[in-house]
């Protein structure tokens, strides 16, 4: 079918924990989200068939819309035959399954290995070991074991004992270093010689193209060797696409297709299955480019966390399969010290108790928070998972001074992932985003309330208009606008003064907004959060006068501004806690502040008295 004839789309997303479905149809000359369904993923025991969850999620839509979408055999009727039966297109995105276990071998940690790591991080890979000629590679591997400057024997042993689906060999710019690359290829060859044939991983060479033939001569015998173009052909230019394409294809072959029922599911659609991370990346790139915004998207999954940014024409996406909040929580606990999670909890609990609690959660990653404390612990984990990936992306941006300066000054933050979309109060989501992303200046917060953010990239591939209209109208809940100055001052002293003037020329002023007296200038003290209710759809002009230590993004501290802002379900959130965010080291003081901030956002902290 052509784009012109696609008027209805059924999209499904198979995640590690849940499977969701969405029906998009033409309503009054516009594509709208008609219904959604969600159920648990079923690729694992006891179901052992991923299509069971897909069918269950779609059946919910059938029930809600009184339509027939699935044939008796379970597959969708395509194309749509009449008003009540079938859809024109069926698209699938997936993040189910384990990541590709990867070992990286290269010469210099901050050149070719760093490029390879960045290229690999755009798909679902987990880097286990990094072997380089120079020193350790902690910053890249995020806690993975490193083997810098070791003997050939140690490297062989590491490779022999390692758990890897793929080994990525890089090194040398084109025409650059040759001998060390050959040496590394030889070491790899030796390690493969002592591995049983069945245990040999795929080896991809993406290094100096001038020695590609020699490297092939050394490794071709393995039967699993492939070459792609150099990931770092010259010092200041990266070529990530060939590696990304190869890894993505391997991920499909080795991790997705072996999932019970996956092949059957993929045969139900005439379109290729898209990895959820790639689909999300397309969405963020579109939002940034089309609307000329600096956008950051965070997508928290059980098995991975995805952070995607678009600044001008520069895009960056990072998928960390060791930073999920459920299935890969044990790996996250290795990458992030327990104190970092602990600092977000507004009550007394020892780090050891918290560690035990989180290990129990990782034993049962699909379980739900029961008490308020459970919920707060989940959000503490969410904050640190996002921060881990955000910091890594920020490090990339910092190498480009012109853009690096803008990092954090987001126009839009998009939040996705079940832990956020099922939050009992939108203020929880706002707090997680403020604490983890730390936006400064003036930022809008959008929540993927329909759980379609991961589907939009796949929908765009078959019907771009539908994806655009969905993104504008139905997918996101506007949480509100954040005004957050950068800088620090003295607690309690004024950080900025704000005056809000409602724009009532287009909308009637809502009773909530009218109740607030916006005529006076408001003092916002440093260290506080204040919420001014301004419902969705209503606009206001905000006059901001930061004091001399605070910068709201207009070039220098103390410079004021007038800006038009739009309301949201929470309104205008003024976050005067300063950037970068600092939490008091003393427990009592920190607990009090955390409790205060939550109550400023209308979240009452009510301890249930649980002991962990």
């Amino acid at each position: 079918m052509t784009e012109a004839t696609i008027n209805s789309i059924l999209a499904v997303e198979c995640g590690t924990v849940s499977t969701s479905a969405a029906l998009i149809e033409m309503v009054d000359d516009e594509f709208r989200l008609t219904a959604t369904g969600e159920t648990g993923s079923t690729y694992d025991s006891p179901w052992q068939d991923i299509t069971i969850g897909v069918v269950a999620a779609v059946r919910q839509i059938e029930k809600a819309t009184n339509r027939i979408l699935l044939a008796p055999g379970g597959w969708p009727f395509t194309p749509q035959s009449n008003k009540r039966q079938g859809v024109d297109a069926f698209v699938i995105v997936s993040s189910a399954g384990k990541p590709l276990q990867m070992t990286l071998i290269g010469l210099m940690q901050d050149i070719s290995l760093a490029s390879a790591h960045r290229a690999a991080a755009t798909t679902y890979t987990a880097t286990g070991n990094v072997i380089s000629l120079d020193a350790a590679l902690d910053s890249l591997s995020g806690g993975a074991s490193t083997n810098g400057a070791h003997s050939a024997e140690t490297r062989i042993q590491t490779l022999q004992q390692g758990q890897h689906d793929v080994i990525l060999l890089v090194g040398g710019t084109d025409g650059g270093a040759e001998r060390p690359v050959i040496e590394m290829a030889n070491i790899l060859s030796m390690a493969m010689r002592v591995l049983p044939e069945a245990d040999r991983p795929v080896i991809i060479y993406a290094g100096n193209s001038h020695v590609r033939e020699q490297v092939s001569d050394i490794l071709d015998w393995t039967g699993t060797f492939k070459t792609v173009d150099n990931v770092c052909p010259v010092l200041d230019r990266e070529n990530p696409v060939p590696i990304q394409t190869e890894l993505e294809s391997l991920y499909f072959q080795q991790k997705m297709f072996p999932l019970p029922g996956f092949e059957k599911l993929s045969n139900w659609s005439r379109y290729s299955v898209l990895p959820a991370g790639k689909s999300f990346k397309k969405l963020i790139a579109y939002l940034g480019q089309h609307h000329n915004l600096n956008v950051i998207g965070v997508n928290l999954g059980s098995g991975s966390t995805v952070v995607s940014t678009q600044v001008g024409d520069q895009h960056s996406t990072l998928i960390r399969s060791d930073a999920g909040i459920g299935h890969s929580l044990a790996a996250l606990l290795r990458a992030v010290p327990i104190d970092k999670f602990h600092r977000w909890l507004p009550w007394s609990i020892t780090p050891a108790e918290l560690h035990n609690y989180l290990l129990n959660k990782s034993l049962h990653p699909t379980t739900l928070p029961v008490t308020y404390e459970d919920l707060m612990i989940e959000y503490a984990v969410a904050r640190e998972a996002i921060r881990l990936v955000r910091d890594q992306i920020q490090a990339r941006w910092s190498s480009q001074p012109a853009i690096g300066q803008q990092f954090g000054q987001w126009n839009l933050v998009v939040a996705a992932g079940r832990i956020l979309t099922r939050a009992p109060h939108p203020a929880h989501v706002a707090m997680v985003l403020l604490d983890a992303v730390e936006p400064w200046g003036i930022t809008s917060l959008a929540l993927d309330i329909s759980s379609t953010a991961n589907m939009l990239g796949a929908i765009a591939a078959v019907q771009p208009v539908a994806a655009v209209q969905l993104a504008i109208r139905d997918s996101f809940l506007n949480l509100g606008t954040v005004i957050a100055p950068k800088g620090h001052g003295i607690y309690g002293q004024t950080a900025l003064k704000i005056k809000v003037r409602l724009q009532n020329d287009e909308f009637d002023i809502s009773p909530e907004a009218e109740e607030n007296d916006f005529s006076e200038e408001i003092d916002i003290p440093y260290g506080s959060i204040k919420v001014l209710p301004l419902p969705s759809g209503q606009k206001a002009t905000v006059e901001m006068r930061p004091t001399r230590y605070f910068d709201i993004g207009l070039g220098q501290p103390g410079r004021g501004a007038v800006a038009d802002v739009e309301g949201g379900i929470l309104g205008i959130i003024i976050d005067a806690r300063g950037r970068p965010l600092r939490l008091p080291a003393r427990d009592e003081q920190r607990h009090e502040l955390l409790g205060q901030w939550l109550s400023n956002l209308d979240i009452t902290y009510a301890a249930s008295g649980n002991n962990y």
Binding site: S45, P46, E153, G162, L368
Partner: protein
Amino acid sequence: MQLPGIIINSDRKIVITRRLPASGEVLVKRGQQVEALDVIARTEQPSRYRVIDVARQLARPNIDMDRVMLKAEGDTVKANEAIAIRGGFLRRIVRAPVEGHIAAIGSGWVLLETERTTVELQAFINGTVTRIIPERGAIIESSGAMIQAACGFGGEAYGSLKRLVDRPSDLLPPETIGENVKNTILLGGRTVDEETLRLAEEAQVRGIIVGSIDASLLNLDPPVRVRVVATEGFGDLPMSPYTFGILATTLGGKEIAIRGVTPILSSTTGKRTPTDPPIIVSTSRRRRSGRTAALSLGDTSREEIRPGHRVRILRGELLGASGVVDSIPSEPQRLEAGLLVPIAKIKIDNVVYDIPWANLEQVN
């Protein structure tokens, strides 16, 4: 609706897969009766290598290895024995720096394996070998009790089960660890601390079963040689009375096998490690005709959950507790955390609790 399952069963037919970490020799035959401590397969794994740069030592970067090598792959060499030679006017010899055998010959190099470690695989349960996995191991069937645990450390152990506590919430008293516990597996209650573990190690205890373990015990330095299995999880959780009941009454004094591991932690190290789950198994030495369906790890019931089915709670204050389904409300309910989710009403000791469906597993 279905649930993931866990095996806590006192008398079922049991199927266990035993597999070497690498290719090796299988020492048993199909149909053979084995006992838990019988070695059923063996392999030797290289544990140390030396790389010999033949090309450099012979001062020929692009050397033809076929022409200079005196030894072939698999050959054993003694220390100082010649392994390669370059003839002619400037004759050069490459000698093995240490004793070993030649693991691989590449272009210009030789990989000498200098140390091997023997890995022996025991049967783990008493039973009958029903299938041979060529070069790797075997599948063994038996009948008896199997309890799938939550976590543990130390690996596998076999011995008779000795109960040292009266209730599942009791702490394992250090003073009870004396001479009479040598070579046994102790049934503790709630948890165990480092001091008690060290005492048990001194008393040559083979293993300990408790409800929970503190995560700090996973990284003891020096590591303790006692194997530990926790049935419920990490922290300070009592053992489920249901599990304790099976261990104390059905298995008390019997020979049992335990596997103390935590797969979620070993899978994050980047190393090739076994991911078999932590379990407690007791099988009879006598052969029995099993009438019940075989139960193997990973098997779960595909039965719809109904009132009366036994389930285990996976989160919250009741973590590890086992009860029966009282009813399944059709409408979702709001939890204290604020989430609106499907729940089941679970009866434990005559008290009915609302438990989110996602926080339950079926006890098989």
